[in-house]
């Protein structure tokens, strides 16, 4: 009985962690190239989810509606990079951060303006009634949550493979590692970084419709997730997709177990647990668990 309860909480933690990891993956895609922490990533995902919702509400089949949102996400990513980020130049970290904050507010206001402030219910891609779950050792694994986990794992495996084994991936890593040398060997650095934004926009737009059935669709649906995602990416290492996933799952599981077993913390102090983890990791290993440490030796 005790053990079953533990398992249930563990699974809850994994489910939450998968969402943090998913969004963190998007953050990593832009950070690697442009060195931009896109605080507006969650908002971009949110507005794309509204697009998918509108498409579905107008009779487009759900999978196609989601695909539509993903395409809009990718295109928006490219547009943001081209018009707002690239003109700031390569080493403008603070200006880029400010632009992202501005973008956060602008996208949020735009979504509120178009779709209004009321939360909407969002249809699930798989059956999501109370009895749609797989029981494993007494724990209920809901279909919808399994979908999120599977999509997350497929995505990170695909990203890893692309980064590691393709010419395009090598270009991306070269551009992230040393942009000047990269352009000397023929990498079109700006174009490669723009692809990072395309990927990020698409990944976020895929996440939104997967969580919206349970969070409900609203302009504030990503407010806390973006903070968790930043923590996850920091813990895992901002330039490592696998690190982001491990960071997300680690934070999700730890905060849930701590909240369940340490009496005074409970649900209200969960985010604090995540921030404590973040602080500890930053003190012990500033580049994150799997991030690239500077290995330069001259």
């Amino acid at each position: 009985m005790e053990f079953e309860l533990f398992l249930t909480r563990l699974v809850q933690g994994i489910n939450n962690g998968a969402i943090y990891a998913f969004l963190a993956l998007a953050l990593v895609c832009t950070y690697r190239g442009s060195k931009a922490l896109n605080l507006a990533q969650g908002e971009l995902a949110m507005i794309c989810t509204f697009v998918s919702w509108s498409l579905a509400a107008n009779g487009v089949p759900l999978p196609l509606a989601i695909l539509g949102g993903v395409v809009v996400g990718g295109l928006s990513g490219a547009a943001i990079e081209r018009t707002l980020i690239r003109p700031l130049g390569r080493d403008a970290h603070y200006s880029v951060l400010l632009v992202c904050v501005g973008l956060f507010l602008a996208i949020n206001a735009l979504a509120g303006f178009i779709w209004g402030g009321d939360p909407q219910s969002f249809p699930a891609v798989v059956p999501d009634a109370p009895d749609d779950f797989v029981p494993v050792m007494g724990v209920r694994l809901r279909y919808q949550q399994l979908v999120i986990l599977v999509v997350l794992l497929v995505l990170v495996a695909a990203l890893y493979a692309v980064f590691r084994y393709t010419r395009f991936g090598l270009s991306m890593r070269a551009a992230a590692s040393n942009p000047d040398s990269a352009s000397l060997v023929g990498v079109r650095v700006n174009r490669v970084n723009a692809w990072g934004w395309v990927l990020a926009g698409a990944v976020g737009a895929l996440l939104g419709p997967l969580i919206a059935p349970s969070t409900t669709l609203s302009t504030s649906m990503f407010f806390t997730f973006i903070i968790y995602a930043c923590a996850a990416a920091t813990v895992g290492g901002f330039d490592s997709p696998i690190g982001a996933v491990i960071g997300g799952l680690f934070i999700g599981v730890t905060e849930n177990l701590v909240a369940s077993y340490v009496g005074f913390i409970g649900d209200s102090l969960k985010l604090t647990v995540a921030l404590v983890i973040l602080l500890v990791v930053l003190m012990v290993k500033p580049s994150g668990l799997l991030g690239t440490r500077e290995v330069e030796r001259v």
Binding site: R173, A174, S177, S181, L184, V185, G186, V187, V295
Partner: protein, 235 residues
């Protein structure tokens, strides 16, 4: 002519560093550029490879590249070994070499070339799976030369290849640059402060002083010139 500069000026916004530079490199030639710190040697390299904006005419094999960007210039067959090596420190040695071939279309023959540079520099082969940032300075310089050569260039620019190397490693490196020049009939434009060793493999040279060409001549003429002797050869 392999490379020809006609009245090239360039700088970094706050005014020109290079003033109306004219020089040329003939096919198969090794040309060296000597000059003190801050003379504008690196600026000249970056102007040729397209990293910074420049004015004037730069002809590579007769084609004007003065408005072409670096990504395209390397595809035309002009590769640069940047000052300080420009290593991708968090990529492995082999990945660094493979970036050199990113500009190529014939991916099938890339592996052949990899083996070739591993044979030339066995120390790179031993460390192929290591992060390149962990290589010694000399090894990184070999890596930088091999990486540039992986693009199969017809003209190689080298910016201070001896920087930070011991005299012995410098000898070794220049010996291998010479054999690359002979074996591949590769034209080279080399910036060097170590005038003695650079003039040893060069056919001709230029002396750059505060952004202008102060002297030009054959390697022998430059070695005999008082100006070069006093400033760079130390006798």
């Amino acid at each position: 002519m392999s490379l020809e500069l006609q009245g090239v000026s360039a700088g970094y916004g706050a005014g020109d560093v290079l003033h109306e530079i004219s020089l040329d490199v003939r096919p198969g030639e090794v040309v060296v550029i000597l000059g003190a710190n801050g003379a504008g040697k690196t600026t000249l390299m970056r102007a040729v490879s397209g990293v910074i904006p420049r004015r004037g005419r730069i002809l590579f094999e007769g084609k004007d590249i003065s408005r072409t960007g670096p990504e395209q210039i390397v595809r035309l067959g002009l590769a640069q070994v940047p000052q300080g090596r420009g290593t991708f420190v968090d990529l492995t040695v082999e990945e660094n070499l493979r970036t050199g071939a990113l500009s190529r279309r014939d991916s099938a023959r890339v592996n052949e070339d990899l083996d070739r540079w591993y044979t030339t520099y066995p120390r790179l082969a031993e460390r192929r799976r290591q992060k390149a940032g962990l290589l010694s300075g000399g090894e990184q310089q070999m890596l930088a030369v091999s990486r540039a050569m992986m693009s199969r260039p017809r003209l190689l620019l080298c910016d201070e290849p001896s920087l930070g190397l011991s005299p012995r490693l410098t000898q070794e490196l220049f010996a291998s640059l010479r054999s690359i020049n002979e074996e591949w009939d590769m034209s080279m434009l080399i910036v060097e402060q170590n005038a003695a060793i650079a003039l040893g493999i060069a056919t001709r040279g230029y002396l750059l002083e505060v952004g202008t060409i102060a002297r030009a001549g054959s390697a022998d003429e430059l070695s005999d010139s008082d100006a070069v002797r006093a400033a760079y050869l130390g006798y």
